[in-house]
Subunit: 342 residues, 4 copies
């Protein structure tokens, strides 16, 4: 049985553990043979791949990133893509199945292809933990751990200088990383896209913490927007390529907080360090198990579904489960965290 | 409302986060006032405590160990203990409730006391993750992460010297730490108390790994006993090569593996480094939420129960849930891991 | 003997180890008694301090920041400052000596005060390692280690996405952090204030690395200015408080590198995480020894001098040694590192 | 110019950085070509090697261990060894020079070979930092950092259980690792081979720490022997309390300390985790610079010498410098550390 595997979209700690888990389980349990396509769908459609013998996945589960490379190529936007294009690629490589490791876009593409009869299984990947159908996605725990360690460092500077520290973490549409990082780091305010909060409320939390002699810590997700404060929305200007020129929400909030509270405030944007590097043990185990589960799904010809975690069990759910809606932070989880603010 | 709180049994990363979570939520949501008893039941029965004002729990969730201290005192073995003794102590301190953070012994004691009508709630604590009723206990993730990082270091020595490395991790009665650490570290064999394995099988796994050019890695739980190999059970002394025979199972296995495979083998016993130090973000979040949940239970007078994690939710279960049977590694989880051995 | 001690200027990992070293050695070897002034010179001049009994410095050498707090107050700018003001403060607190832990400004102030006959000794502090008279200053090793770990994480993202990663590290006037972090992380280009480099040269290094199939890594010190590229100098706009609004050199270089090489380029500014948090063992040992040395200097009445590291020895040098010139990266050290670029 | 390179003796963090530094500098500055011999002298004498093209050393400076493997083979004990054997091997591989990375045995062998006219340069390697002629050897800083992090974890257990913790670190003949780890971790006693200390003195330090409410921490080098206490030397077996008596000095000291002080005492032997894994940034920089320096020595035909660190400079010293005497901890360094004991 010949199986293709690829990683698509933003990189995420644990991708290599998924690849290793699938390849080892495929070889040892199902006599499968793996082709690793390079840079996601692009490699599949353009025929770029590496043969994943067992020795190729040796010791990679502790490596961040993906040995296959990744890209944001979408199977339906690519000139040689679409159902026919992907079907042709699978034929060309005599593949009996394809393991697509990726986020919303990849899984949506995988669903359309599977619905059209192509032998595809999915592995959900998002560092933001905002895909439905699974309790957690791999990479999230590493992002939270890395962010928490970085913020532990920021705090000592805040305390020594009696400053308010703002830490911007990842999370465009969902605040899971901010919620867990903030709770782990003991933040006095956590700001996430799901929750509208006024600048006055933020200033109150910051002020209350300072009144108790603390150096206020604010953890903000990149996708947060305050309910008011027009100033926050004023564009900082795009560069000539239309790329956002610097200045995430954290950099914009810091001077506002300083103005409103009179407390010297500094922002650090953690950025890419949250999504790279050695995965935590939690993510290595989760990703390895998901990869092994994907190889089993292929062996069973259980197409159009993906692996998922429920409690401590790896099982299978329809791809729809990940797609029907973004998994955002529910109100009760934010309320729980908010009890510790201020 | 006056509430007592204490930590009992072996220390565990996350204990301070539980204390902080309970105290902050208790103060802010329920107008509770906390007395922290020193060294577990001993402090309660002998009247040694500290008043846990908010400032006392400041920034402690990132600290390992417990600010209250701990001991193995059992409430029914202590001269001033038993139902009457504990009831008297609760009266003496005018306590409306008690939060008992501990393992099997403490929760069993708490159940007997609650059954006798005393206002007690529990928080399950075991670094071994072997208590029922909850998906995970805090401290386990830290132990696995610390063990995995240590074994990542051992591997480079094994590979440079073409040695087999044996790493002994904690786990007297359940192999959860060994299972997760071994899977995360890419072990060629994981040996746990739940599974009888012959020395021949171990030697085969080690030999297979070496045949593929790997430096074999064996992760063994302290409670593992091989199915055969009387020699392993022989009293301490020198082995037949005059090498000193050490105490733990890992130290005993190493020379046997070396004899059977001809591969130079060394053991490292990780010991106490697995149970101390800064908790992972995962454990800080889990422990904080459990502490907050315990304060809510006290506010509700929901005695005789404990907080537990199911999936991503903190909820409440009867104390029996933790006690009816040891939560050991199920066969399918070991079989899953074993696919990666050799 | 009553001794004052204070920490001034930017915080730095190791400050608490200096305080602990001075207090413990002072108490045990010299029967000294320590007053810790709060927020640097401000606390001395305004009479805010804490008595540093032995218990106050318990276990603090592993804590980042400074338990005394810090500020940028300069002894000659403060209304109650100047030689007379400081002399009066020393009298008021009946101090026989003062240990001033700080950077260039503090040591220059300390020299003027010592020249005027006041009993002051110095401990050199700069995370940038740019003070003369000593091989290393504490905090530098921690900044390099933290930066290197962060960049190790960035690399996996660069490699998975075939991107050029730019990492901006600290170093306004000297490139030591960039030089060591870049060499430790295997950077393909290191850009420091001491060295004028053209955009064309930077693009060549980046292009060469990519030609060899690498994901180019550029480590740039915040104080670097390219020899050309006017665009880099165009102001990104100041906010209404005249604070630099976002956009360090790294954020400005990234789009230029992308334009010149056609390689997708992203910047991460490590910022404050480099100067906070638990010090490395190297810095704990160095800082502890410097603190102990300062207590000995006070006992000897060896005023107007500071502790310094030469090779592995802690000894004493005149304060001038730190002040005569900024310790920048010498040409031969940059040339050595540059052999590994591209 | 064809150059051989090899790593011999115990593995050490930084070996790969030395190899990378030598190969990159050799290729880029001196048009050298490198053959990497496997498992030290054995590979050279038996003709096992890999060609070290630039791509072979890509990204290895952050990897622990050695990509070349190592062994304890001595060039004068090996049947095909000796001056003639090594000379023949150099001829056979048409080598113009050899870089020998190793400890005392390897450098002594290198000296005899160089004295006999063979083109050999040395790179000093010992995790124990006990080679003369250089301020530090690479690997030492990593061992101290890893040991300090592990002991930071042990402390929380000691404090929670009011126990004395004994940590055994490496150091057969010299106590550098124990001295620096102990000072960094805030040990109440540091025991090293260079210093005879009585059990009574150890018990006094431990007791004093406990009297001040601390959980005593003892850091002992594996080579330490108490001045008295015959019992420590008694063969393995059970102590008088029937507790199993383990192998290392730490395991033997713990019950003695407990007997003499009445304080519950536990030992953890850090073992191999100190010598493996990712090197610290300090060691990566030091090892890279030493490797680069070795390539320069080969280019200059500067045989019979080795690279060394003095202050912040890499320079060259005769091999004798490393061999004339073991670099042990001088009395003043122990006295300095001892001021913090108890």
């Amino acid at each position: 049985m010949r199986v293709g595997i690829m990683t698509s979209g933003g990189d995420c700690p644990g991708l290599n553990a998924v690849i290793r888990g699938a390849v080892l389980n495929g070889i040892k349990s199902h006599d499968q043979e793996y082709l690793g396509f390079l840079d996601g769908w692009r490699g599949l459609l353009q025929g770029e791949f590496m043969n994943l013998e067992r020795s190729m996945v040796r010791g990679i589960s502790k490596q961040g990133g993906t040995i296959l490379g990744t890209s944001r190529t979408h199977p339906f936007d690519h000139p040689e893509g679409g159902v026919d294009g992907v079907a042709a690629a699978l034929d060309r490589h005599q593949l009996d199945g394809l393991v697509a490791i990726g986020g919303e876009g990849t899984l949506a593409g995988a669903k359309r292809l599977a619905d059209a009869g192509l032998p595809i299984v999915g592995v959900p990947k998002t560092i933001d933990n905002d895909l439905g159908g699974t309790d957690y996605t791999f990479g999230f725990d590493t992002a939270v751990q890395t962010g928490t360690e970085a913020i532990d460092r920021l705090r000592t500077t805040g305390e020594s200088h009696h400053r308010c520290m703002v830490a911007e973490v990842m999370g465009r549409h969902a605040g899971w990383i901010a919620l867990h990082t903030g709770m782990a780091a003991g933040a006095h305010a956590v700001l996430i896209p799901e929750q509208k909060v006024t600048m006055a409320q933020i200033a109150e939390w910051v002020g209350d913490a300072e009144d108790r002699g603390r150096a206020p810590l604010v953890v903000v997700a990149e996708g947060f927007v305050p309910e008011d404060a027009e100033e926050v929305h004023t564009p900082l200007g795009l560069d000539r390529h239309g790329r956002k020129r610097l200045g995430g929400i954290g950099d914009r909030l810091a001077p506002l907080i300083e103005d409103m509270t009179g407390i010297e405030t500094r922002c650090t944007t953690l950025g890419h360090i949250q999504r790279g590097g050695t995965p935590t043990a939690f993510d290595r185990v989760l990703a390895t198990r998901m990869g092994m589960g994907a190889a089993d799904m292929v062996a069973d010809g259980d197409w159009g579904r993906m692996v998922a975690l429920t409690g401590t069990d790896i099982h299978r759910v329809p791809l729809e489960a990940a797609l029907e809606s973004l998994k955002t932070v529910p109100q009760h989880r934010y309320d729980e965290a908010a009890l510790l603010f201020g």
